[in-house]
Symmetry: none
Subunit: 138 residues, 2 copies
Amino acid sequence: MKRTIFIFTILIVAILTLFQLSKYTIISGDTKIEMIIGVIAIVFFVIGVYMNKRSLHRKRLPEGSIDHKKIKELGLSKRECEVLNQIATGRSNQEIAEKLFVSESTVKTHVSNILMKLDVKRRTQAVQKAKELQIIAF
Amino acid sequence: MKRTIFIFTILIVAILTLFQLSKYTIISGDTKIEMIIGVIAIVFFVIGVYMNKRSLHRKRLPEGSIDHKKIKELGLSKRECEVLNQIATGRSNQEIAEKLFVSESTVKTHVSNILMKLDVKRRTQAVQKAKELQIIAF
DNA sequence: GTGTATTTGGTACTTTAGTATGAGTTCTTT
DNA sequence: AAAGAACTCATACTAAAGTACCAAATACAC
């Protein structure tokens, strides 16, 4: 949020400077008007492209925001959600165990519970359903 | 492609018109230079936003269409792609076999080849990678 | 502090997934 | 028609994944 304010401040300053500059140059009369207009056009075009990109990014990334209501409905615990996300990245039980510093048995228990709660039979289906329900960040 | 040329033509015409208009108005001397610059700035800002949106849309929406080049690069056959899509829906080898009217052995062979070509070890990873490479419709 | 839910872990077992190898069939390309 | 790629299927095997059942440590609310 601080960065946004910072960027906007710089932007406004830049715009005002451009305005002043253009006025000043016109009065002195030794620069062609086309040049100034060209510069302004390019600058604002770039600004337009840049700001649009930023706003679109902001909309895309927070799709990572998860449906916490549905998670509660399904009764998924924190740990189970972690495991579910690990499954979604394509990791094996063994790899998940190493990543979360627990035994493979524990992971298997979690996986079993996840499959039950999501009402599916395989981990691949779990990933599919989790995506549909938007309870994972993918 | 035709539409792109059409849009660009209109754009260039609009820009030239603006230039001429600005020059004309300055000569007549009864409009303030700030107004003209402001209009140009706004117009080019809008153009920037619009064009950026279009180019981004072109990249995002046809994600439903698959990267056929990459499929060829990887050497994936038609059947293998079908199996890959089935895997992505969370189906088991047995279920895929029934869906495609072949034996489970055949499916296993396909899956093995897919894993090799995608350079992964598990079907869950294959789904993950296939999504990244945009070779499945998900 | 008592009870409930979570997290952890184990054993034993069944099922599914994946590998390796070989081979017959179909389809296309030259 | 011959070569090569793609598709098919089988057997035998190893490796994961998943189930069932149990149990202890921890956390947390009441």
